[in-house]
Each structure stands twice: as C-alpha cells, then as structure tokens.
C-alpha cells in the first residue's frame, strides 16, 4: 500500500529534504518523486510505501501538518487503497457517460460512481442498468431550489469529485462556492478556441483540419479553469458535419477519461490557474 503526498508551497531551500525526512524518519520508503519549481512556486508529488510506517493513515495528515507549516505548504494525502466517489453530471448526450462507466468496469478508472445527476431523464436507463443511482433534477429558471437538490445529493453521497460529462448548463457561482470538491469538465474544443456554443458547426464552417477537446477544472470563469488534458483528431474536407461531431465526441471522451484518470491517480496539482501533471 502506498501514500501519495501532493503539496504546493513558496519556493525555498530544503523542501525536498524536509518531506523526505518526514517519510524516512517514520519508516516509509519513497518509490517516486516529481517536484518542480515554477515562478516561485514549488510543486511536489511524493509516493511512498506504508509498510512499516509508524503513523496510522488517519494521523498522517495531522503529523504532516507540522512540516507543512514550516514550508507554508497546502497539501493533500491520498492512499492507494482509497476508491474515490464520483458524481457524474450529464445532460442528454451519452457517449462520455457510457465511456466512463465502461472504463470504471474494466478497472482503468479507479473510482466508484456514486450517482448520476441530470437535467434530463434520457440517461436514466444507462445509469440504472449499472445500478448507479440516477437523479433527474430539472432546471427551473429563477428557482434555485434545483441547485439545493443537487448539492444535497452530492453531500449525502460523500462525493469527492464531480465530472461534467457533457452537462450543458453553467454551474452558478453559488453552486461552485458550496460544492467543496473539484469539478472536471470536458469542453468540445481546443480551448480557448471555439469557447461557447456549437463548436463543431463553427469548426466545420471554418474548415479546420483538426478538432480538439479540452478537459479542465471548473472555476468561476466560464471555460477559463486550469487545463488538465487536451487532445486532437484530424478531419478532412470529406468529413461532413456529422463526421465532425462523431470524431469530436470520440476525442471528447478520450480526453475526459485521460484527465479523470490523472486526477484519480493523484497526478494533478493546481497552482496559478494552471495544472502540473505528473505523468
């Protein structure tokens, strides 16, 4: 069993040694590190074996807090036997949802899908066939109670990460403030390219030769959050709009599942509205 320790701190001498000393002095064995200084910020990912570690899992964050204070770090600790609980939010399109379910089943995505929340009822069958609780919460303009319902479900299910798998609504600042867990969105273009609606039609009319997709964390700024993963696929003049959409969707689901896998494997750290990815 392994622990993964992510931290971000102002750059300064001795960070690596302090973290390594913490692990070593308690009997841990470091098996992987990736650390990097960028613009005065020191980002660190350290993986270590817990066999013979003399602090209980529960107490590790408490104990590491002392080191963190010294180096002014914010940090998170994860364990390789934890299976994160995920809430998937989607609208009508099913390709990303199906892909995520499939990859969870084959073991590629280490997660438990705690629930699916949708503003439509179309995806119920897919979800319930897999015994995933499905919540149809219609959106009523000017009535924020739907948001409360969403948040209640998320809290109750103890969700650790939300995935917007083609959820075609904008989350309100109030929702983002209250939700308390990271949210990953898949955007149907090579951001900041074609931000907004109908990207494939616009890409088709523009005659582009490549379609892109971008997975990013959601922040207050629409389509402006830290990018995790981007991918592209080639298109030609013999591809019509239907082909653009098909190829685009294929790219979307690949990029989303790659981004989610990186997140679930604790290989992503956010800083300065960017991400460091430890592939």
């Amino acid at each position: 069993m392994k622990a993964i320790l992510l931290s971000v701190s102002p750059d300064q001498k001795g960070i690596v040694e302090k973290i390594a000393h913490f692990v070593g002095s308690h009997g841990g064995n470091i098996t992987n590190t990736s650390q990097h200084e960028d613009g005065g910020v020191f980002i660190s990912r350290v993986e270590f074996e817990l066999e013979n570690f003399d602090i209980t899992k529960k107490n590790i964050p408490v104990e590491f807090e002392k080191v963190a204070k010294q180096i002014k770090a914010r940090f998170e600790i994860f364990f390789s036997d934890q299976i994160p609980k995920v809430c998937i939010m989607a609208s009508k399109e099913d390709h990303c949802l199906i892909d995520l379910i499939l990859r969870q089943k084959t073991g590629e995505l280490n997660m438990k899908i705690a629930c699916v929340i949708s503003n439509h009822d179309e995806l119920r069958k897919i979800s319930e066939k897999e015994n995933i609780p499905f919540f149809f919460i219609p959106i009523i303009e000017n009535d924020p109670t739907y948001e409360k319902k969403q948040l209640d479900i998320i809290k109750k299910a103890k969700v650790e990460i939300i995935v917007l798998a083609k959820y075609m609504r904008i989350l309100s600042p109030n929702f983002l403030k209250k939700v308390g867990v990271p949210i990953i969105n898949i955007h149907h273009s090579f951001l900041p390219d074609f931000a907004g609606a109908n990207p494939y039609k616009r890409a088709y009319l523009r005659g582009v030769k490549m379609l892109g997709a971008t997975a990013h964390y959601v922040t207050d700024e629409l389509d402006g959050g830290p990018i995790i993963e981007q991918g592209v696929t080639k298109v030609t003049h013999t591809d019509n709009l239907v082909d653009f959409i098909r190829k685009g969707r294929d790219t979307e689901k690949t990029v989303l599942s790659n981004a989610l896998r990186l997140h679930l494997n604790h290989r992503v750290i956010m800083y300065n509205n960017k991400t460091a990815i430890f592939y």
Copy 2:
C-alpha cells in the same frame, strides 16, 4: 510526364465522365483521381500521363476551356516538370526560412526560391549564402511606396506563390488585390485560437497542454483565410516560455512546409473559404 487538372464546378451529373472523356479522347492515361461533392460544389483533381497526348501543353488549357464552359468550372492545369517560382517574405525570425531553403535543397519542396523580401535586413546573409536575391524593403508608415516596391519585385520575378515565413506585418487590401498569386501564411496558433499577437505567452499563461500552428491562404480577413494544414505539439508544466517558443517554432516550420508541399504538388483546391486537400 504528367498533367494535374484541378477544377471546381457546381455539382451536376456527368462531370467525371466529361473530364475523363477529354483526357481519354486525346490519348491521355489517368493515373489518379480524387473527386468530391460538398454542399453542391464538385471538386476534382485528375492526374494523367502526357505520353501520346495529342494536344501540346500550351494548348491544353485552351482545349479544356470548352469542357469547363459546359460544366461551369473554374480550373487550373499544371505539369509535373514545372518548377514553381516562390517568393518568401519574412521579418527577423529565421527558422521557417532556413527550413524552407533546406527542404528545397533536399528535393522535398519542388520549387525555385526566386527571392526573399523582408522588412528587416537580418536574413540577408542566410539568403545570399544560398544565392537567393534578398530585398530589404523597410516599411514606412503612411508611405505606400514600399508596397509598390514589393509588388514590382514579385511581378518581375514572375513569382507563382508567396510564402509568409514569419512575416510579421499585415498585407494591405491593396497588396492582396494587386498581387495576383496565392499567399500562404503560417500562424503561430491553432486558429482561430490565439489569433493576434504574442500567442505563445498567452498560451503559456493559460496553461495549455498543446501548442498548435496553422498554415492558411491569406485573404482580406485577418487570420481568416482557408486553412491548409494544422499541427500540434505537447507541452507540460515543466516547459517554460522559452520551451513554448522553441516547440512552437518547430511546429510552425513543420506545418508550413507540409502546407507548401501540398500546394506545390497541386493537392489543394480552395472553395467556400475552405480547402479540399488530396493527400
């Protein structure tokens, strides 16, 4: 020796047969065709051997004009033994110019570089070392005589295609109207992404995971002309701005030379502000 016949016409029955009949009835042998209907437009590329062809090269366009009238086509005919004359326009950056020269020398780009025109004097040495006439034409605001000088050189050199190899100025509507030959530009982003200035800095600050480059024909609309080729390269959080620029430049020159090769091999047809590419 081969002829390449490119044509664009309104879609209608019988186009393929009429073109094939023209070639066959004069003793030509078709070795490759790529034809496609898109939105009521029929795009055609036909390659045929000229051995035993009973019309002289000079007269082929005259004779084909009769077919073209019937099918309301605009067309161009090229011959495999023609070596197009190219004018390269550049400013200070040398990576694209050097790459184009190199690929011309190795035979990858079937062209003669007739001249280099620059608004700076930095690239003189590179050009003259290769015996390419270099024209330093400074740009004087509000004095359009520099544009006349550019056009005079281009006309005199009987240039058939202009390549903007990091020419960092906008060509005026007047220039575009008078120049009379196609112009290919390399844009330092995945258009329409990051159109405008400083794309690498903006991409770096945005924390993108891929850099793009786009080669396109120049039209009146800035960065809005038909796209020929796009390419991408991966970047990570360990790449700093200098790395972004290096990787971006590498992508730029690859994309530009690919686009130019497609054009020089008569594999590009423009229609509806897009391109059909016959790879």
Copy 3:
C-alpha cells in the same frame, strides 16, 4: 441512397471514363471518386447517387459485369442502406468486444452483430445482455468438428465479415478456405514487430517508448495479411507491465474499430497483399 463501386484492374487507358459512362448513361450522379494506379494495378472507388438510376439494385452487378469484362476488373458493389452482418470471434478478453458493441449502438459502426463465437464461455453475459446470440465452441485438439460448427453458424447467419476481437487461436487453412468472407484481426503490436506471443511483455522488457497495434485481413500467412490500420501510444519508464497492457488494449480497440469502420464504409480495397484505403 448511394452505391459504392470498388474495382481493381490492370492499368490501361479509359477505365475512369468507362466507369463514369456506365454510371452517367444510366442516370446516376457521381459524388465521390478515388482512383489510383500503383505498379500497373488500377484501383477505383466510385460513389454515386441512385435516385433516377434506371437499373434495379439487384441488376447493377449484372450490368456492370459487361464493363468489368472489358477492363478485366474484379469488382464489388455496395449500397448505403445495406447493414452488413458481422460475426465477432473472441476468447476471454472483453475490451474489443465491448468497444465494438458500444460503437455499433452509437451508430459509429454501421453493422448488425449477428453472433459472437468464442472458444471460452466468459463473454456470454456481455453478448446476451445485448441480445447477441453467443456460441461457446470449445476447441478440441485433433478434432476438427469444432471448425465445422463455427462454419455452420457463420453460414447460417449469412455473415458478411468476421472480426477477430482478440481471438487467440490460429484459424486453420481449411477454415480460411471455406469461410468465404473477409476476416479482420487485431494484432497486439506494430506488425511485423513482436509477431507472436506475449508482445507486451517483450515490449516492456525491450524498453520501447511506443506501443503499436495493427489491424489486418487474415490470410494463410500468420500475421502476414494486408494491413488496414496501425496506431501507436506512448509509454515511459514509469509505466509498468500492467500499464503497458492497459495502454496497449486501448490502442488495440481504437485501431480495430477504425479498421472495421473503414471496411464497413467500403473504403478498403485489397491488392498485391496490401490495402488501398480511401479515407
């Protein structure tokens, strides 16, 4: 509705015109052609609209036979409203089978999965959940009756194409001779690289930086049939054997479904133990 006419003939003058004349003289409208001469062989794909065509679908092959005789062509004619019947053969691994089912459901693959044949019983549940007849036919060495059973199922289901979706047995020359339909296989390497068993382990030990997969038609020569599609994915030293297998499988299923889509869309012609692909 459209017809797709694939043909292969010795190169000679007039092929394009003869085919175009056949289509046009019967009232058809050609919407796409791709034709190419390679080593004395002329390969042709012509797509045309059947509206107003004055020969019935059933009679088109009969009538075209006359043209084919003139140009010594072998040919096939397909119609865009035909949905090919496919037999999937697989062993124990489910990733390719699941992917094919999923892409059939989303409409990406235009096919009907007529049956699944396996030498194991593991994939029964996946198949039957989708109402696909599943046949568990164990392989008994030195008893060729299992082969007869396979062929009987294939004949009875009027299968037009067989897909080996990780079928880990070699098909006998007898089977290949009798089956009468094309067979597409996915090979877990960048052929001819790592032909044979345990490719991922051998790739891992060799320390490669990219994994490949190859989809090809099956012929008498093991792993030696015409290649349809190849794909690669990057690996690094932090990928262990389990990662190699996961990444390899992802590449396998993508390459297989791409190859199958090309085949189902009648975009592949075999000649000289190679393929021409009309993307």
Copy 4:
C-alpha cells in the same frame, strides 16, 4: 547556474533524503526532481541551483562520492554552463547531419560539434562550410588501422558523446570497448521492427500504414541497445517508395534530434538495458 545529478542505485529507504540533505547542507536549492523505483532499482535526477553552494564545481563529484558509497549508487554530475563536445559520424546521407547542425545553430541543441567522421567524402562540404573539422576515414576490410584513426580523433577532440547520424557501418566490439563515451544511433524503423537492411523497401512491400524511427544507445548487440525515443509517421497506398524514404528520413531526423536533446539536457539514465527519460 544549475547542477544536474543523475544516479542509479539499488532501491532502499532514505535515498531521496540523503541526496536532498547533501544538496541542502551545502547551500543548494533543489528546483526539480524526478525519481522512480523500477524493479528494485532507484533512478534519480535532481536539479539544483549552485548560487551559494559551498563546494566548488570541481569538488562536487568528490564530495558526493561519499553519499554514493552509502547508497551504492553510480552517478554523474553535470552543470548547466557546460557545452558538451559531440562527434558526428555519418556516411553519405546528409539529412540528419544538416538537421543537427541547424538545431545547434538555433540553440535547440546545446552542444559543440567537435568533428565529423565519415567513411565517405561526400559530407565534407557541408561540414567545412560550418567550420567543423571533417575527417574522411575510408574503411578497409581486414585492416583495423582505420578504427585506430577514428579513436585517435575522438580522444584528441575530447568528445563526450558520439552521434551516428546515418553511419551505415557496424562499430566493432573493440571500438565500443575503447571509445569510453556514449553513442547514440538513429535506426530507420520502429525497432525491433525491420532491424537490418533496406527497411523502407521492406515496409513498402509489406504495405504498412505507419513508418517508425528509433534512437537508441549503441551496445554490443546490434540494434539492441537502450531505446531513447521513437516516432512514427503515417503513410498511405498513394505513397511510393520514394515517398516512404522521404517521410522516413523526416521521422529519423526528428527522432534523432529529440533523443540527442534529451541526452544533452541530462534527461536520460540507462539502467537494465532500458532508459528512464525525465521529460
């Protein structure tokens, strides 16, 4: 100014801390680490700033030797202001040599090309135009004196790395034993695919859909040394053998320069006949 410390040791607790303590206790600031355990081997790359470091550059290896002994590591220390001296060996093909020279000039490759050694005289002009000493050393079968000449040049020029830029001869075990510096070769295929002669012709006849190239360190085993980088490019049935060679060469030079840049930036560690690459 920075130091880069590469080390390989048997896995054990405390390595990271010991290395970090060495750096920190002498006043260094770590700006990047990448460390990984694979099969009982611990591979480490640590980058640190030398400002305020209290050991002279010359003495750092001497002092670190004490740490290395404790953790049984073999190690190398490089400095960011060092410019490695490179010997390029080539035969007649010029594409890789030209590309390396170009990238050295643009600053992409941080190196000094100390000399070019060739078994032919064709590349003299290219080398001497850039003021690079060129040595034409013909190979005389059964007369090993040419090898002595090669080694003398290499020793005299104090070369730190040899690049085989399409050097079409096999280096003898004696040469490899005596040369004392790493050698990077570019192989014209996706190794172990098409090892040996005429790979493009064989790939063309086989009808592959992708061409590969592999850069690797040279060892006693022909084409069997640790792989540094691999790349691919797509080919289609319209590419003839000349196109295969052109596309293949483009891939070769890109892969070779990428591999060399990784090596020159001290981002490659060899272990277990593989490489760890710290991108």
